[in-house]
Amino acid sequence: MRKYRLIIAGLSVLLAAAFLAGCAGMAAKPTEDNFKAPTVTLNRVEVPYYTGYWYFSSKVKPTKGSAGDYGAAMGLGFIFDIENPNDYPVLMESLKFSIAFEEFVLNTVAADEPMWIPAGKTNQLRVNAIMDARSSLLSLMVTGGFQLKEKGMSPWDALEKWWTGAPEMSFPIHVQQGSAIFKAGGVIKGVEVAATYP
């Protein structure tokens, strides 16, 4: 009989644990009124991959592989602090933003992997962006052509300045036109993301 009571007691603990675990998601009730917009702050920008500045046109014969228009690749890491001021966990569904060197938008990146942020806590998220001089050249010419002309700059001048200056962050890098989408229960909020580094 004692053994039986011990088994029942043990199983009861398990039962309670299972029920509580299942009910955890129902404990807090997010509403439009009590939802406080999380904040997304740029902590820093890193250059985790760098090969200097270079460009080969398709007229140059490569040692191996096929010729093409190739520009130096440069990796940028954007580390964000994402703070959840709510009393319940919040899901960040996606974070998307454009990257501008000075006033020229060169890239748009997104982190689409959902992330839970516990109640009252701050998570960090790294978003990696690959910048390459060829794509940036095209982007610069097609969206910044008139602007560069007005400044009396050629796209090549701009690329060289940025690719050689990136290790020292000698020019401002802007995060702009950014949005983070947060969800809690049935509440969905888009939060604007903008920052400049350094």
Partner: protein, 415 residues
């Protein structure tokens, strides 16, 4: 039955109840995977970024309003920077992710992928509206919710011929003269040139030498000087907006004196911003309403732009958002019909979905859509606007099917 046995059974029952009620929130809902290939950084990013934002916002709308008969869509959206090798790489990823359909982008990669999507039987809805993609005998899995470039070009030339040519001083005295500006090496820019010349010849135009204008051009004086020799009455532009704006600016400053007719990608809210007063009187084809126009569904387009991309000011949003919505709403309708038929495979999305649409209306100012197993031209109508006094005003609507039924049905499909 012993106490122990009864207790164990009772526990098992309660444990099951706890699991069902407690853990049911962990159960995943049915999901449909869709791929999207966009250019947010490359040679067409001046128009591609806004389109990409519209794609994501429209899928949010579909999910928020019940999904595909209750199934949620998981969108895998990637920027490929207009690099065709990367488009092929991303396409392979979409297959591994078991995407049942794809929202694609440019003419180069869409035409390059057309044989592959046909073999794989994956419906591919593109923002390339190349006429080459409209014949199901050749490209059975390519679709889009727009007038194709050839229909646009034919409609533009016809609208100019009907509305502007009779008002010219030389009307009735000589043939009208037309020339075309586009990037020769770009499959996108050159896609409708053959059809445009065919239409111009049919209407009795004299056709001048083509001018090679790069998509990156900001100085087109040499091309304008060459055009001045020919003295065109009208110039057709088939590039994207920045180089079209550059050409209009140079034509204005050098006194070319011609009218301008422009394919959809060169005719958006940014054209007057970039071209200034040189944009006055420019005509363009817009199969959809401009962003914010008072048409059905536009309230949702604006609401979702605000909701999901609050960092992008509304004044920066353009007609390209609207055309993305059109492609998404068309695809969602096809998915719903295929799902209702109990089969969400590629062939079913095509046959039970798209190819069952007859005069289907999605709103957004888009004319009713029809797809058949013999014809993937969704629209035979070119809506031609004129930019004048700071506004885009509808000038004419040219229905090629009504006007030239024989040629439209038998001669003009697929190019």
């Amino acid at each position: 039955m012993s106490i122990q046995s009864r207790g164990t059974k009772a526990f098992a029952f309660l444990f099951a109840v706890a699991l069902i009620f407690g853990l049911s929130s962990w159960a995943g809902a049915a999901q449909i995977n869709i791929g999207a290939l966009n250019d947010m950084t490359g040679a067409t990013s001046d128009v591609g970024k806004d389109y990409a934002l519209g794609i994501a916002e429209a899928f949010h709308y579909i999910n928020d309003t019940g999904g595909i008969n209750g199934k949620q869509i998981k969108l895998y959206q990637f920027d490929y920077g207009y690099r065709i090798p990367e488009a092929l790489t991303k396409y392979k990823l979409f297959k591994r992710l078991k995407c049942v359909a794809i929202q694609g982008w440019g003419t180069g990669d869409t035409e390059a992928l057309a044989p592959t999507v046909a073999k794989d039987q994956i419906p591919y809805v593109s923002a390339s509206y190349s006429g080459h993609l409209t014949n199901p005998e050749k490209t059975p899995y390519n679709l889009f919710i727009s007038a194709d470039y050839s229909t646009q070009s034919r409609g533009l030339i016809t609208a100019w011929y009907d509305n502007k040519w009779p008002k010219k001083q030389d009307f009735g005295k000589r043939k009208p003269r037309i020339a075309m500006c586009y990037m020769f090496a770009s499959p996108f820019s050159s896609a409708s040139i053959k059809a445009a010349k065919d239409q111009a010849e049919m209407l009795g135009f004299e056709i001048g030498d083509d001018q090679d204008v790069s998509l990156f051009a900001i100085d087109t004086k040499s091309q304008i000087l060459a055009l001045k020799e020919f003295k065109p009455d009208v110039v057709l532009h088939t590039n994207t907006v920045m180089s079209v704006a550059a050409t209009l600016r140079d034509a204005y400053s050098l006194g070319l004196g011609a009218d301008h007719i422009i394919k959809n990608w060169g005719f958006d809210e940014n054209l007057p911003k970039l071209a200034g007063e040189a944009a006055e009187g420019a005509m363009g084809c817009a199969p959809w309403a401009f962003f914010g126009e008072d048409v059905p569904m536009m309230d949702k387009v604006v609401e979702y732009a605000k909701k999901y991309n609050p960092g992008v000011p509304l004044e920066k949003r353009t007609i390209h958002t609207v055309q993305a919505w059109a492609n998404v709403l068309g695809m969602a309708e096809a998915l719903k019909r295929a799902d209702a038929a109990g089969d969400l495979s590629g062939p079913s999305i095509l046959k039970n979905g798209f190819e069952t649409m007859r005069d289907f209306t999605i709103g957004l100012g888009v004319a009713p859509i029809t797809f058949t197993s013999e014809d993937h031209r969704a629209l035979s109508i070119a809506r031609v606007y004129e930019y004048t006094q700071g506004e885009f005003k509808l000038l004419d609507t040219v229905d090629l099917q009504k006007r030239w039924p024989e040629k439209y049905a038998n001669e003009w499909i697929g190019w």
